[in-house]
Symmetry: C2
Subunit: 104 residues, 2 copies
């Protein structure tokens, strides 16, 4: 049985870190770890939907030009084709659970 | 932008409750709410993978006959074809985040 722990964190001052928890041919589940100022630049996937769910701290999520601040416990859907990204504009570290299917 | 809150809960003494947070043609994200003694009976999906991630409390997860106790912050993969289920054998309420793709 494959078990993973959501509390895993790895931060790096040079860029946002991605920790993979599970990956199958159908999806992946990662934890993204963002130091203040770090981001995942806006991008799009033609055929995959994504969810960002904030575990720690706060991020700005952007989906198709709309921005929202999300705090721990908030989640947002980035549907296939939408331009989406996240940014940590706070002064504290942030961690985000990222689910995507199908795997790009 | 579709935003949902992971802290949503709804318990019912008669059976486990499922709260849908996001649903697309590619996946769903639910919160399952289990009173002590409640369960999702073991079952299988031929072509979909699932993740259970415990938000509150503790559950017993069963995948292909193997059982493990999972506590808040633990997650388990139930690959396509595996027989899987969860049970709250504790004396406290439990809440579990459930990702599944593709939607069955």
């Amino acid at each position: 049985m494959k078990v993973a722990v959501l509390s895993q964190r790895r931060f790096d001052a040079s860029k946002m870190q991605k920790i993979n928890l599970f990956e199958t041919e159908r999806f992946f589940l990662d934890v993204y770890c963002l130091e203040p100022g770090q981001s995942q630049k806006a991008h799009a996937h033609a055929g995959s939907d994504k969810i960002y769910a904030v575990l720690d701290g706060a991020i700005i999520a952007r989906v198709d030009g709309e921005e929202r601040e999300l705090r721990a416990g908030d989640a947002v859907l980035a549907p296939a084709g939408s331009e989406h990204g996240i940014e940590n504009r706070s002064s504290a570290r942030a961690a985000v659970l990222v689910f995507m299917a199908p795997k790009p």
